[in-house]
């Protein structure tokens, strides 16, 4: 009974709401089409080949959508990225997020130097990375996957958090990185980017 009523209202809304509000489910095909602009920098299926540009493949959908909203609203800023988020509707963002989340991340072939890997793994525990990003640093919900992400990108974000210049929804990352030295940040980025 309830379900029937709800569906009828939802169909009614499609006609009634004047803002561009879609009531269709997240649309992977539409996401793939929109993603053709993104892959010019983020790489095929969102697998970046550039150390400074993040891979999007296999990131949690909620993380991708959240960051796109923040770029669009000007709360996270990047000279290259910001213009692309301007003017995208929420439905576009959901479709892009669904598409990139469903792509397979090409795993790094590089191995981190063994000393780096050991210290990096310890830092990730000590500085609480695994608390939110998950025990294998694969990300969850609105929190990004760090394992296998591009090294320079990770370094730039961590330095940005440390300088309080990187967008941070609730201040968690800004506070979490304050005690990291620049050397720690370099070690973590090296370790994480080689992590499978």
């Amino acid at each position: 009974m309830i379900f029937v009523a709800v569906v009828r209202v939802a169909v009614g809304l499609l006609l009634a709401v004047t803002l561009p509000v879609s009531v269709l489910a997240a649309d992977m095909a539409a996401g793939m089409q929109k993603a053709q602009t993104c892959v010019a920098c983020h790489g095929p299926e969102g697998n970046s080949a550039s150390p400074a540009i993040p891979s999007l493949a296999g990131q949690p959908a909620q993380f991708i959508a959240t960051q796109l909203v923040m770029f669009r609203e000007g709360r996270r800023k990047d000279a290259q990225m910001s213009p692309f988020a301007t003017g995208l509707a929420n439905a576009d963002l959901n479709n892009l997020a669904a598409y990139f989340a469903a792509q397979k991340l090409v795993l790094p072939t590089r191995e981190a130097p063994s000393a780096t890997a050991e210290v990096g793994a310890r830092l990730a525990q000590q500085f609480n990375c695994t608390q939110c990003h998950g025990p294998a640093l694969m990300g969850q919900q609105h929190i990004p996957r760090l394992a296998g992400q591009q090294m320079d990108y990770l370094k730039t974000q961590l330095l940005g958090f440390k300088a309080s210049t990187r967008f941070d929804m609730d201040g968690q990352m800004t506070s979490a990185v304050q005690a990291l030295s620049e050397a720690d940040i370099a070690t973590l980025a090296d370790y994480l980017s080689a992590l499978k």
Partner: protein, 423 residues
Amino acid sequence: MRISTRLHRSIYRWVGIMSAGAAALLVANSAWAQAPAAPAAAPAAPPSWQQGRSADQAKSPLHPFAPHFTGRTSADLPLDKLKVPPGFKVEVWVEGVPEARSLALGDKGTVFVSNRNLTEVYAIVDRGDKREIKKLFTGMKVPNGVAFSKGTLYVAERHRITRYDGIEDALDNPPAAKVVIDNLDPSAQAGHFWKYLAMGPDGKLYFNVGAPGNIVLPNYNQATMQRVDPNTGVLETVAQGVRNSVGMDWHPRTKELWFTNHARDWISDDLPNDTLHRVSRKNMNFGYPFCHQGDLLDPEFGKGRSCKEFDAPAAKLGPHIAPLGMRFYTGKMFPAEYQNNMFVAMHGSWNRNTKHGYNVMRVTTDAAGKVTGMKPFLEGFLTDDKGDPPMWGRPVDVLQLRDGSMLVSDDFNGIIYRISYKK
């Protein structure tokens, strides 16, 4: 005040210098001792929601949930799981209102909807058979509180309260903000500083100023309920010892203020309870950070204190259940026994291994105003009490419409539901 603030700042600076010095000393020591490669670094301060965790909770997987800021469409959601009592019906009233938080109803039927992490206030209007979503304001600073009275919309941002007179005649071209009170957020630090806003029967605007952390000693104006006279700007404290209230209303008969309150995290899965409060006199103090739920001394701040020093809550609502919006029902649509009952939106527990809440509860009282019962009214958002996330939607506020039906906002999906009743 100014002197003590400066003193505080200098103490903080001192602590900063001391720890920097200690760290330098450690590094220097390890260099002298030819210590192995691993440098001795002090552990980073944990995120603020982890503040107050005990050592044995250090590896806890529990974490707060963030909303879908793009909103999710009803087509993507298991709406068939929603359940209301026999005779009631729940339906999607509007979707596409990202992070829909607090609700307020205009004289002409406009529904105003706020944001907490996003920066918008929306107006939702029915034009003929069309329901329109209008982005009324954008770029606001944590505009969680909205209240409407006598043609005027009031918005509580983190740092100030503003008014917009004659708003319902100017939805396409809203007037500039007029400040009711400013500088409510002098510290700009992390903490429970988003505000719920409600217009009292005395013509004053009531709101919360929460605690600056999970379990910390608040300063003189934090962890309070306050009110401001919109005509004079005079500010008064209504109640103290309130960790964070994000929902309030006045009893239709007694005109007493009732409000919901979130208790601290990280004591245990089952303690302390979040609470419902009744303000029956001036200068009540409900205990935070010393005593929780009226009868539980805080393990740290409760030392040398007694719960007898403080006022007890009207009801315990459940541990970590996160009660938000709360309103008394005075409409004609629901059955007579619902008159003056409270509806409380439970945003749902995150700080608990087995999740509960994520529903709207109906709370009943007797003629003397004593709480007599509590049962679920709208449920079905919680689908896996051990899941991460355990739910697909989260109720935030409830609002009675003119016809006696009830709206429920869901910030996780950016959807507002309507509950109606037919014999």
